[in-house]
């Protein structure tokens, strides 16, 4: 490797910082949770997951955690994705294709607007808890 100048060192740091910040978990407030049960994967959840990773990277969002979970129980609506943004209602999206994933990142995460056409009506909380 060639010797660095001050500018090159700073550039290297900026590039890598973005990458390493993803490892920090403290100041991340947005959760994107992709349902990766067998049904979800069969329906294309993996592509959706990849699309989320790429889009979030593209928009330089450092405060997002992408998590995965097992089947959320809505198998006919897979892939399903739950998005939790502070000060916005927790939202579940259904039939999340690669394009929908891009919309979710651009609208819900960046502009803080729901992607209404794909919101899955969330069953009321007590139903889930009594299950």
């Amino acid at each position: 490797m060639a010797k660095l100048t001050l500018e090159e060192l700073r550039k290297l740091r900026d590039n890598k910082k973005h990458e390493i910040q993803k490892r920090e978990t403290d100041n991340k407030e947005i959760d994107v949770i992709v349902g990766m049960g067998t049904c979800g994967i069969a329906a294309g959840a993996k592509d959706a997951l990849d699309a989320f990773i790429a889009e979030i990277d593209k928009h330089n969002l450092t405060n997002v955690r992408i998590k995965q979970t097992g089947c959320m129980g809505f198998c006919t609506y897979e892939p399903t994705v739950e998005v939790k943004v502070p000060d916005m209602p927790d939202t579940i999206y259904n039939n999340v294709s690669v394009d929908v994933a891009k919309l979710i990142v651009g609208n819900h995460l960046v502009r803080k607007q729901l992607v209404s056409e794909h919101v899955f009506d969330r069953p009321s909380v007590d139903i889930i808890e009594n299950k």
Binding site: M1, K3, L4, L6, K16, E19, R23, T25, K67, Q68
Partner: protein, 600 residues
């Protein structure tokens, strides 16, 4: 490239010795087999500190903290956690003993062990791959060097250290800014040196090793900053050869820094040049003493010489030399970046910042911890350490290793800093913290440390060479039941002579464990001397096992357990121990279910 998940595998010595490397390899193979290499990165990091529960694997972004992982668990972790998104519950730290009392605790921040910790020195340990310089750089690595080289004059660096109030972490707690200032101001030579003391000789201590293993660049960066500040062009790291992993990580780090022009000629294109070499020590405790260490680097026998003159002006090859401990250095980049005022805001009036301790002994969660100065021993032992195992009672904690002393129960709430520890008759030392319970005999502890210092004395001066041996002899005599009351006075006299007349810190502080245990546990000494008893049951010569005739049911268990067949008796008849044959191993005492055997 962006990753979705990160698997951090501990690569500290503790976890490596329980196959962390195999775990790392297996995880990598699994990830590759599942074609996930583009999405999931497997990283080997430095010590997480929670070595007791190692090997540790942490998965991000969920921040799931897996403990006691085995190589064969790799497949399940990848299949379940990474692919299906389900945590592997059986490997999650189960906190049945944890004060937070959740059934399983998945995240690091929920583990009591981590809650009171504050990480400056260990900021990158368990976070970055210590063998990849870019990872250090990404966590603001070499930004302090950059700031110093381009925006600060040497005086300003010293000012910042002064404001920070940082004191040496190697033992004596001397203000770092003063040392640097002496060397900077030294006019006896143009050639100056910067030395890092990584000898770490205290039994039970491994703070410096873990720092070097987990974050070697932080020390290199700080030494380079020291070089710029005092006007030195050459640095040496003196490290014991028993630390192969730390040495290999240091070598890699030095090479990487050189390749990038962060070390070597014309650093970052400036006209400042600085180089660092590693020197291996053979692991003699006395070589941690600064003048002996410098002699050893020069290729001479590692023996202390009288000070003054101090190394700051007459150090390596009689040239002005800054010598600091690993942990002292590891603090410096953060002080430069965040400012002396920030650092000074942590800690107590006289002791700023944090301290790394290696917590060992009779403690549930042993491990490496970093805590703000001023924390109490109670918080360390009960909140972080989880208390004493097996329902035993806390007796004392030894800080400062063979140069230190014990802290007893009544001082559990004293804020820990340099001055308070000195008042209690101990020292901060380099950070070994050994917890003892009611089964530990204080006389035996003192004997253990004296044995160590007698062994490690270089023999150059009489008070240490002869005094140490005499002191040990008296302790031994008392522990065998031959002690006389006057022995205590003798020990006090010898201690005083050693403290006053020894040439170096080793001899001067060697009596401390005796003085300290005498101060707080005189009763225990007297018990050994007058009653010929050791109630902790440690001093074998004073022990006697007896069978209580009325309690013994004659089950024969003890007779079968006894390794030397010292117990005889008919079935269902009271048994008896032949005292001449008994080797005091205590096997029968442990084995009897009827409390029929007494120890005393």
């Amino acid at each position: 490239m962006a990753y979705r998940s990160y698997i951090l595998v501990c690569g500290g010595t503790g976890c490596e010795s329980s196959h962390a490397d195999k775990i790392y390899q297996n995880l990598k193979n699994e990830i590759e087999a599942n074609k996930l290499s583009e999405q999931v990165q497997v990283i080997k990091t430095g010590c997480f500190g929670f070595c007791e529960q190692g090997p540790i694997v942490k998965i991000l972004p969920e921040n799931t903290f897996y403990v006691q992982v085995k190589p064969e668990d790799a497949k399940e972790l990848v299949d379940e956690h990474i692919i299906k998104g389900r945590p592997v519950e059986r490997l999650i730290y189960s906190a049945s003993d944890d004060k937070n009392r959740k059934s399983v605790i998945a995240e690091e921040k929920d583990i009591s062990f981590y809650q009171k910790q504050y990480r400056i020195v260990l900021r990158n340990c368990g976070m970055i791959d210590p063998e990849v310089i870019e990872e250090y750089i990404a966590r603001d690595g070499y930004a302090a060097l950059e700031k110093v080289l381009f925006d600060m004059k040497p005086e300003q660096v010293i000012d910042e250290l002064k404001k920070a109030g940082i004191r040496g972490r190697g033992g004596a707690g001397f203000p770092t800014w003063m040392k640097w200032n002496f060397t900077k101001g030294a006019t006896n030579s143009e050639t100056k040196y910067v030395v890092c003391n990584a000898d770490e000789g205290d039994p039970g201590a491994y703070m410096d090793r873990s720092t070097l293993e987990g974050d070697p660049h932080s020390v290199l960066e700080a030494m380079t900053i020291a070089g710029y500040t005092v006007g030195a062009q050459k640095g040496f790291i003196y490290i014991r050869a028993e630390y192969p992993l730390a040495i290999s990580r240091l070598k890699i780090a030095i090479q990487q820094a050189k390749d990038m022009g962060l070390l070597g000629d014309n650093i970052l294109g400036t006209d400042f040049s600085f180089d660092i070499e590693i020197r291996l020590g053979a692991g003699a405790f006395v070589c941690g003493e600064e003048t002996a260490l410098l002699a050893s680097i020069e290729g001479k026998r590692g023996m202390p010489i009288p000070r003054p003159p101090f190394p700051a002006t007459h150090g390596l090859w009689k040239k002005p030399t800054v010598i600091n401990n690993v942990e002292t250095y590891a603090n410096i980049p953060m002080i430069i970046l965040k400012g002396g005022d920030w650092f000074a805001s942590i800690g107590t009036e006289t002791s700023k910042g944090t301290k790394v301790f290696a917590l060992t002994g009779k403690i549930k969660n042993s491990g490496l911890i970093e805590v703000p100065m001023g924390i109490t021993l109670r918080e360390i032992i009960y909140d972080i350490g989880g208390g004493i195992p097996n329902g035993r009672k806390f007796k004392a904690a030894q800080s400062g290793g063979p140069s230190g002393g014990v802290i007893t129960e009544e001082f559990l709430d004293t804020p820990i800093d340099y001055e308070n520890l000195a008042k209690l008759g101990s020292i901060m030392g380099s950070g070994g913290l050994i917890v003892m319970d009611e089964d530990d005999c204080m006389l035996d502890i003192a004997k253990f440390y004296l044995d160590f210092t007698v062994d490690e004395s270089c023999g150059k001066c009489a008070p240490c060479r002869i005094g140490g041996k005499q002191l040990y002899g008296l302790l031994d005599k008392i522990s065998q039941g031959n002690g006389e009351l006057d022995d205590i006075n003798k020990m006090e006299d010898i201690s005083l002579a050693m403290q006053r007349a020894s040439l170096c810190g080793l001899g001067q502080t060697a009596p401390n464990p005796v003085a300290s245990t005498l101060r707080y546990f005189k009763d225990e000494y007297l018990e050994h001397i007058t009653d010929k008893k050791c109630s902790a049951g440690v001093c074998k010569d004073l022990l006697q096992f007896n069978i209580l005739k009325d309690k013994c049911v004659g089950c024969t268990v003890c007779a079968r357990k006894c390794p030397v067949n010292a117990i005889s008796g008919e079935r269902k008849q009271p048994h008896e121990i032949d005292q001449n044959a008994c080797i005091k191993c205590g096997e029968c005492y442990e084995a009897c279910k009827f409390q029929a055997i007494t120890r005393g």
